[in-house]
C-alpha cells in the first residue's frame, strides 16, 4: 500500500472510531497536545491508560469475588476507571462505568458483575482499535509520511 493510501486508511479508521462512539472529542484534545517536543505524547498517555485500566479491572474482579463485597472499594476503582477513560476520550468505557457506579450505589452484585463484564469487553475493544490505529500511524511515519489531522 502506498503512502497516500495509508494516510487515507488512517483518516477513515479514525473517523469510524468517533462515529462508533469508541472515541470522543477528548481524544482530539489529546492529539492537539502532542507537538514536536512531545511527539509520542498520545501513545504515552494511552499506554498509561492501558496499564492503569488493567490494574483496575483486576482489582475489580477480585473485589467482586469476595464473600462480602465492599461496594465502597468497588466504587472507588470504578470512579478511577471512569476518570481515566473520560480523560482520554474512551467514551464507551466511560459510559459503562456510569452504569457500574449506579449498581454500586444500589449494592447490586449482579448488576456490578454484569457491568464488569461489559467494561472488560469495551476496554478490550478500544484497546485493540487504538493499537491498530497506532500501528497505521507507525507505518505512515516509517514510509516517510506525516500523520494527517
Amino acid at each position: 500500500m502506498d503512502l497516500v493510501q495509508l494516510q487515507r486508511q488512517l483518516v477513515e479508521y479514525r473517523t469510524s472510531l468517533y462515529h462508533e462512539g469508541f472515541l470522543d472529542a477528548q481524544f482530539t484534545q489529546l492529539q492537539e497536545l502532542q507537538d514536536e517536543n512531545n511527539p509520542d505524547f498520545v501513545v504515552e498517555v494511552v499506554s498509561l491508560f492501558f496499564e492503569d485500566s488493567e490494574r483496575l479491572l483486576n482489582e475489580l474482579t477480585t473485589a467482586l469475588e469476595q464473600q462480602s463485597v465492599d461496594f465502597k472499594r468497588v466504587d472507588a476503582h470504578v470512579h478511577q476507571l471512569k476518570g481515566s477513560s473520560s480523560s482520554i476520550g474512551a467514551q464507551r468505557v466511560q459510559k459503562v462505568c456510569i452504569a457500574f457506579r449506579n449498581y454500586c450505589e444500589e449494592k447490586n452484585v449482579e448488576g456490578c458483575l454484569k457491568c464488569l463484564q461489559q467494561v472488560k469487553h469495551e476496554y478490550s475493544l478500544v484497546k485493540t482499535k487504538l493499537e491498530s490505529m497506532f500501528q497505521l500511524e507507525q507505518q505512515i511515519l516509517s514510509a516517510g509520511g506525516s500523520i494527517p489531522m
Binding site: 477528548q26 484534545q29 489529546l30 492537539e32 497536545l33 507537538d35 512531545n38 505524547f41 504515552e44 498517555v45 498509561l48 491508560f49 492503569d52 472507588a76 470512579h79 478511577q80 471512569k82 476518570g83 481515566s84 473520560s86 480523560s87 482520554i88 476520550g89
Partner: protein, 152 residues
C-alpha cells in the same frame, strides 16, 4: 512526586507578572489526569510540580507534619482534584487557607462531577475557580489569563 522545571526562585509575594512562568502544583490521585494536567500547564508556559495526594502536596508546600513552615510560597497556583482518597481537595483547600504563608495562593478545584453544592462549598472556602474534568487546553488558557488578570 513529579517535577517539571526547577523549583528555584521564590518571590516576595505570589503575584504572577506578565512574562513570568508561574509555578503550579497539580494534585491528583489519577495517574493519567496528572500527566494530562501537567502537559496542559506546560503548554501554557507554566512550571509544574505534581503530587499524587493531598498529604504529599502539604509536605511539598511545607505544611506537612514533619516539616517547618517556610516564609514564602514555592508556588503561584495550586490546582487540585476534589475526590482523592484520604484527604479530599476541599480539605486540602481548607488547610492552605489556614496557613499564613499560603492563604494568598490561588487554589483551583477540579472535579469530574458537576455538583452545585460541592462547587459553592469550595468557592465559599476560598477556591478561585472550580473546573470540570476532563480539562481542555482552553480551560487552562482561561485559567492562566484569569490568574494574571487578578494580579494586575
Amino acid at each position: 512526586m513529579g517535577g517539571g522545571g526547577g523549583g528555584g526562585d521564590s518571590s516576595e509575594d505570589t503575584a504572577v507578572e506578565l512574562g513570568d512562568e508561574p509555578h503550579v502544583l497539580a494534585v491528583d490521585d489519577n495517574l493519567i489526569d496528572r500527566k494530562l494536567v501537567e502537559k496542559l500547564l506546560k503548554n501554557s508556559s507554566c512550571k509544574v510540580t505534581t503530587a499524587e495526594n493531598a498529604l504529599r502536596a502539604l509536605d511539598y508546600l511545607g505544611l506537612g507534619n514533619e516539616t517547618l513552615e517556610g516564609t514564602v510560597s514555592k508556588v503561584n497556583l495550586i490546582i487540585t482534584d476534589y475526590c482523592m482518597p484520604g484527604m479530599t481537595g476541599y480539605e486540602l483547600l481548607k488547610k492552605i487557607k489556614e496557613s499564613s504563608v499560603l492563604k494568598e495562593v490561588p487554589v483551583v478545584i477540579m472535579s469530574s462531577e458537576n455538583i452545585p453544592t460541592r462547587i459553592s462549598q469550595c468557592l465559599e472556602e476560598g477556591a478561585k475557580m472550580f473546573m470540570l474534568k476532563p480539562l481542555k487546553q482552553s480551560d487552562v488558557k482561561q485559567l492562566k489569563w484569569h490568574l494574571m488578570k487578578c494580579r494586575n
